[in-house]
Amino acid sequence: MPEGTLCNKQPIDTDEQLKALLGDKGGKVYYEEMKLLEVDQEKLQDTIRKTMKSRIKTWLKICAHCGMCADSCFLYRINDCDPKQVPAYKVQSTLGEMVRKKGRVDNAFMHMAMETAWAKCTCCNRCAMYCPHGIDMGVMVGYMRGLLYQQGFVPWEMKIGAGMHRVYRAQMDVTPEEFVDTFQWMVEEYEEEYAGLTVPVDKEGADIMYTVNAREVKHYPEDLAEAAILFTIAGEDWTIPSSGWELTSLAMFAGDWEACRMQVESVYDAMERLKPKRMIGTECGHAHRATVIEGPYWAGRPDGKPPVESIHYVEWVAEALRTGKLKIDPEKRIKKPVTLQDSCNYIRNHGLKEITREIMSYMVEPGYFFDMAPNKEHNYCCGGGGGFNGIGLYRPQRNKALITKRDQILGTGADLVIAPCHNCWDAIRDLEEEYEIGISWSFLKPLLIDMVIVPEHMKPEE
């Protein structure tokens, strides 16, 4: 069974393997090797038999081929209504074929399936809302990603991402020491302006345990400072865990379920260790989905809940503004046209649609907020979800996918897009770079920092 040195069926488990894969610029060798990678048909069939239960089996069988899902898919619409982009077709021609052929598929088929799984679906689950039978094609593509990952047919960046989680329990090579050190550094940098600013590390029994996205630590540590400032202004009893601080999971995008389990267990361990009242994650959509929505199942928790109540950052912000823990200076409310990006992963897939709008009602001067159409649970994906943003191989497809969001934003006439999700934020930044429509975009934190009233005791002494 020929397997490449870089492209193979083995997950990445050591730093050396990671370095070797990273050293292969753009995955050139990796993708060359993939062309020769053999499909382990028996294993494929065996896995399908063991893991495909009545839900997906039924979905595949009862699909009435009615095509009502077509228009629900932004990738179908943006690609000139190419019938090959109809969600049902995308699933039937890939996963459906694998099942019908009992796993007897070849390398070329797997390449096609890989492109379908990562470049023709962002797992936004919008089609699930348009199928009369309640068939969730996003879930099926997610399932298929697992099969493809097991067979080694996975985009280079996804393999690296999953490997990072396996080696570092973070999506980037950030160690616990670096995390804590960076957080402390940021607090030092801002303690001049905000008296009493601290970052409690590994404090047991705090009200809040805060978890982040490794990218913040690596490249945008201001985000950490902003979180610390807002928690402190709100008078929260909070802490960060020195390990188990990574909320995200590229392993989920990759379909590496084992790595998903390892990743969330590190966060759950931190919860068990520190026993906080609640866990709050940063402004990230997929991370919330991975750790709070799907994670409990990977970790085998029968109640489907993390060990302690876990909420998204927007839930905390809404609560803090509602209860007056954070007070906004009415003078400083946003007075330019603003729109809001609904992240699929916690709006459609976790019901937080009203929460984010409540936040807007506090932050934006009445009359300046414009919703996209469609919105809430019917909103379109930013164009970069499910791993699409990060995969170099599918960059042209991704850039085209951004047009949907571009036109939605243009339709609102907004100057500022508030995107409380890392993936959406990245996609909107990229769409501005690609299409230059003259918008700005932001997370909630920096906007809040500019408008909240700082209590007297936190003002710098002169």
């Binding site: 009545s54 809302m129 309640g134």
Partner: protein, 225 residues
């Protein structure tokens, strides 16, 4: 022949239909796996039930969901087809006379004119469904011969029923064909896509539980389908 079709075959087809579909339901439920499906079915029965009922209910109402509203043409032909296909066989006067004779009970019966309208509705919407399959590229690419087969066996009892209704050709021969077509439909239902007669409720219910339990149902306002 008539005696066979209305005797043993009648009972057999009903038995296959009901037992077959019941087995389908049981297998479906037994095949649910909270860990693989990533839905904690048992842990949150209330939220699950609410989600399931909402999910099934909204979709049973014409224009009850956004999907129905944005595709009105499909919605109309879909509901005309399905309403006719469910109501006519159950509540047709002639069928209820047989029911009474065989099992000693009957349902209320349809006004004959309404029954005609509904049956023609099934026929016309079936033709439109076929045309839609041919005309729209996004449906054409999905369509297989199997889809036409399913449509054909579903519509056959209605076509033959109408032929009998208007006494076209040899009545007793067409009546036999009509009964055979109906029984074929009953027998095939559990083994084909027609199993969606029950699996629709399962699948919709499952997704409703998924959204109701895991994906936000216990978290603020429920999803608006």
């Amino acid at each position: 022949m008539y005696a066979f079709l209305t005797g043993p075959m009648f009972y057999l087809s009903l038995a296959v239909f009901f037992i077959g579909l019941a087995v389908r339901v049981i297998l479906y439920i037994r095949g649910l796996d909270w860990k693989l499906d990533r839905v904690a079915y048992r842990a949150h029965p209330k939220a699950g039930l609410k989600g399931a009922l909402r999910s099934i209910g909204y979709w049973l109402v014409p224009f009850g969901t956004r999907s129905w509203r944005v595709q009105p043409f499909m919605t109309v032909i879909f509901f005309v087809f399905h309403i006719g296909a469910v109501i006519v066989p159950l509540f047709l006067l002639a069928h209820n006379m047989i029911l009474k004779e065989k099992f000693g009970f009957s349902f209320f019966t349809l006004n004959p004119t309404l029954a005609d309208v509904l049956t023609w509705g099934v026929l016309i919407s079936a033709i439109l469904l076929v045309l839609r399959r041919i005309a729209l590229p996004e449906v054409r690419i999905l369509t297989t011969g199997y889809d036409y087969f399913i449509l054909a066996i579903s519509v056959a009892p209605f076509v033959t029923g109408l032929i009998c209704r208007y006494h076209v050709g040899d009545y007793s021969a067409w009546l036999l064909v009509h009964i055979a077509a109906g029984e074929l439909l009953l027998i095939l239902a559990p083994f084909t896509k027609l199993s969606h007669i029950v699996l629709y409720f399962m699948s919709r219910g499952q997704l409703g539980m998924d959204f109701g339990i895991k994906r936000g149902g216990m978290n603020g306002k429920p999803i608006s389908w």
